[in-house]
Structures are given as C-alpha cells and as structure tokens.
Amino acid sequence: MSAILFDRIDEPGLNDIATYERRGGYEALRKALAQPREGLLEELKASGLRGRGGAGFPLGMKASFIPGADIDKYLVCNADESEPGTFKDRELMQKNPHMLIEGMIIAAFTVGANRSFIYIRGEYVLQADVLEQAIAQAKAAGFLGENILDSGFSLDLVLHRGAGAYICGEETGLLDSLEGKRGNPRLKPPFPANQGLFQGPTLINNVETLATIPAIIRMGGSEYAKLGIENSAGTKLVSVSGNVQRPGNYEIELGMSSRDIIFGLAGGPDEGREVKFWFPGGSSSPVLTAADLDITYDFDAMAKAGTMLGSGAIIVVDDSNSVVDVALTLASFYKHESCGKCTPCREGTNWTVKMLQRVQSGEATPMDLDIIASVQEQIIGNCLCVLGDAMAMPVGSLVAKFRPEFESHIEAARERNGLGLTPPPASEEPVLSL
C-alpha cells in the first residue's frame, strides 16, 4: 500500500526545510495558492477525509461552515494529543513538522484565516522545540508571514504550549485554554466555526488531518478518496500499544482487518497469552473482545460494532490482566481530568472511582455493579463535552461484557477480607422499619 504520512519519515534531517523541499515539500502549497479558494474546498470535500482527532467529522464540510465574510478568522491545530493510547501526532510533529505547517497554510488559505495556532501539549517538549524551529525556517523561506509567495495571502503561525490537561484536547476547552483561561468546555452551539477563538470563526482540526492536506492537494481529492473504503477514505495512523510485541505507530489503509493490525503489524500478545479485550479508538471507546478481531478497521464497521474508531489508538489487553484493575485505572484518569464544570461528569467520575475501589477491595456487592452501570448511563449525553461519556462508554462496556469476572472478583475479595460470601438477593421486598 502507499504510505502518505509515514513515507520514509525516518529520513535523517527531514525536520529541516531543505530536506523537506528536496522531497517535493511546499509544492502543494504553490499549487494551492494558484487556485481559487472554492476549488480547494471542493478538493477537500472530494477527498472524503474525516477528522482524525476522534470525532471523524468530514474536513471539507467543517471548512465549508466557516463564513466567507471578510472578518478575523482563525485556524487552530489541535496538537494536545492526550487520549490514553494515542501517540501518532507526536511522531508526525517530531519527524516531519513541515508537512503539518504546509497543511496548515493551505487550510488557512482555503478558509481565509490570517492567524493560526498550534496548541501542543506541554509535555511534548522535544516536539514543540522541533516545531518552533520549523516555523522559523518556514517564515525565513517566505511560506509564512506577509504576502506568502506573492499571492497576497498573509498568515501568522504561533506555537502555543499547554500545561497538562486532557480536557484541552476537547475543541472548546482548547479554545478557552488558548485564550489564557482554565480549559473549561463551552456550550455548543455556537460551534467554533461560527464563534470560536476570540469569538471569531475558527477552523480547528487535529494534527494528522491537517498534515494530510498537502497529499490531497498533490494527488487531487478524488484520487485520495480511492484509498481506503467507502465512507472511510484514505490512510490512517494507528497507535498500537498495551500487550503487543511490537507496539508503535502504523499507517494503514482504512478497511484493513483489525486482526491484521493487532497480530500482523504489532505482533499480537506475548507467546502463550490471548487477547482478552481491546480498545479500538483510544481509552474512551467501548471495548471489543477477541471475538471481534475480524471486524474491519474503519469508521462504519466500528460504529456498527457499538464502538468507535476515535483517534485510532488500539490498546490491547491480554488475559494476564484483571478487568477490575483496568476499569479502575481508566476511571481514575477521567476523574482526575474532569474539569468540574458539569455535575454528571464531575460527580459521576468521582463516584465511579469510589465504587470500583470498593469492588477491588471487596467491600462491594453485585448491586454495586448495577449502580455503576446506571451511573454510566446517566452521564452519557448529559454534559457540555464528552469527557464524562469517555469514561462511561468503556467502563459501562467493561461491566456489561465482563460482569461474571467483576462478580467473582467481589466474592474472592470478600472472602479474603473475612466478610463472608455475598448474601443471595432477597426474594421479597425488604421491610423498612421507620
């Protein structure tokens, strides 16, 4: 298959503008600047590229929502990559930063934005340093700044380092953070395309999405759309991690079999171990089991299986791990990262952790599992953003799919603690003494 994003990405010096240009870099920008904006928008639409950050919203459609009026518009690159299990943007930014910058210039030109920002998570020190150097090079070469390549188009690009908050990967939380506030998500609508950064229309996209744009312009949108399968066009970077022998980033054509990714590319679990369950799209996606390994890896197949492609991060958990530990690790993460703005998420993540701790320590009864499941249901869809849902979906699916293991864990822990076996469920309505 044809590698687009990872094509010889380990070439020494690719992060330098000279090497990037020698390989045909910034040619797509010249081609784009010579075209009318409507034509570029059509190319993006024709490519069928769906956002690579997690939601999978079509790029062309998102760009077309930006009003054409002559007002201050912004382009923001979401490089906050904090979804557990996801590390694809890191490799792209570190090794081929100019591809992202070129994609951003083309995207900004298409929607008429004159100011752009890369919001990179503060922990990515090396990647931010590489990008900073690349931006300076692009400025010196005239690809950024005033009147780019005599096209009359000007663009300013600022690298903004975050300071460690998962919520800032959520688009409106990111915008608040970029405005120098706490990263609290906003009510939508208005969507960022109408009212985003500094109240102006804002196009906000993931690193991988923007880095794909030069290839789309080079190949032509309809040619790019031939990669992958229907409704899931193109190639996708998948980050495979957890209990596999060769964890890492792989570029695949969408529609590949999940088994080929997990076993073929990443080597599967260690000798003698079996896949117990796996997260197909980051820790926020409902889990799939070994029985689902033959599902193809694309947006529609994952949605049909009741989960999501998300950021393309596959986390494999083998049979040496306890499902209770995994659920508690996940829930603790979301509890820590909940910004606290919406009650269902703030309280729901907090109580889910407490209940799972009871399950782990053996103080729980099977009724607690029902309460855990019901709390998850009440979080989903009831908050401004999907952080709460991001815990509720995987934890809910773990409890639903591995309930017997949760129950036997509770019983074993109760016995260990000398609490006796779980009492059988009462056959009659309990009598309340007032």
Partner: protein
C-alpha cells in the same frame, strides 16, 4: 490518590476559607512599578503577550516562564505574572491550579513524570514509579510524580525526565536515571524517544539501514 488532610471534627482544613473572608477586599491588579519582577522574566512575558491578538492568551506561557524562574508557582511568581500582564492574582492562580504541569507547592528541580495510565500500567508502570521513588531515596531535589498518559505508549513503561521521554524502562533503569541526573549528564541516552525509529516499515529509509539519531539535531 490525592492527599487531602482530613480532621476528626470534620473537613475544616486550616485555610479552607481563606479566599472567602468577607472582611478582606479581593486583591487588585499589582502595580508593575512597585512589584519587583526580574527583568528577563518581564521581557519574556511581554514578548509572549505580543504574539497574540488578545494578550491574556499569554498566561500559560507566562506561568511556564515564571515557574522556570521561581521553581514553582509561588505567591511571588503569581504576583509577578499578574503585575506584568495587568490581571488580578486571583485570575492567575485560577489558571495555575488547573493545569498539572504547574506546581502549586515548592518542589525539587529534577522533574520526573512516570506514566501510570492504561498502556504503561499494562506493562508495569506503577512498579517503575515505585522503583523511581526508591532510587531517589527521598532526595528533596527529585520531584517524582505519577502522571497521566504522556503520549508515548509505544515505549511503555516510560517516564519524562526533565522533559526528555525515556523508555521502555526496566526497574533497574531507575537507579541509572537518578545517577545520570545527579551527574548532570544525558539521561539514559540509548532509551530516549529522539533515537527511536518508526515502527512502520514505510518510515524506514534504505531498507532500515539508517538510524534516526540525527533526525532531531
């Protein structure tokens, strides 16, 4: 787990109502003319403010700069940022307490984040954290924290040592990291992210003959 102090008579932790003393006027914007701010810090914050159409956007970069100077987001650091940016210390503190990378207590100068999130914990992250703490042996200069996913699950279990990503770590590497830091040299040079090749074969050059060690020079 957070280490919130609990008291037998309730949850009235000393200082819990500091910010709501009704007799105390809220702190206003400190005067830049009378607030001592190191010249370099002031210049750096002002340079950051100039990058954005609305200067308030520079608050996170400003706090990063202040933390570099003061070692943590101390009351003086917050006061100085507020003075330079012309906003109240309350607004600055609100942001400083939201983000994980800002320290709100005095800490050591050697910062080690050990990832204990899902992919690292499947490969022994929590044991690395324990081993790292044991290796530092209570040295106050070491700020060792359990951290959420750092985005390097391909090298799990991993840690960020003063911003340098290293992994996959064995428990025995922790003593080496501590020794490297004390010696002031490079940390675990062979296990740094910057020399790690792409897992995808398409990323290799010349059939995988070339290493990536020069990529980020």
């Amino acid at each position: 787990m957070t280490d919130v102090t609990r008291f037998t008579h309730g949850s009235r932790i000393p200082g819990w109502d500091d910010s709501v003393d009704p007799n105390k006027a809220p702190a206003g914007i400190p005067d830049l003319a009378t607030t001592p701010v190191p010249a370099e810090l002031r210049e750096e914050i002002q340079a950051e403010m100039a990058k954005y159409p609305v200067f308030r956007s520079a608050l996170i970069p400003a706090l990063h700069a202040a933390q570099r100077v003061h070692g943590w987001c101390s009351p003086e650091a917050i006061e100085q940022v507020a003075a330079v940016m012309g906003i109240t210390p309350g607004e600055v503190a609100a942001v400083a307490t939201f983000y994980d990378m800002f320290e709100t207590k005095p800490v050591g100068t050697q910062t080690i984040y050990v990832c204990t999130n899902i992919s690292c914990s499947l490969r022994g992250g929590p044991k690395i954290l324990e081993a790292m703490r044991a290796a530092a042996d209570g040295d106050a200069d070491f700020n060792i924290r359990a951290f959420e996913c750092l985005g390097a699950c391909d090298m799990a279990p991993m840690a960020s040592v003063n911003g340098e990503f290293v992994g996959p770590l064995a428990e025995s590497d922790c003593a080496q990291i501590v020794a490297d830091l004390k010696g002031g040299g490079e940390v675990l040079a062979a296990k740094q992210l910057r020399v790690r090749p792409c897992a995808d074969e398409a990323g290799r050059v010349d059939g995988g003959q070339t290493t990536t060690s020069e990529v980020t020079q």
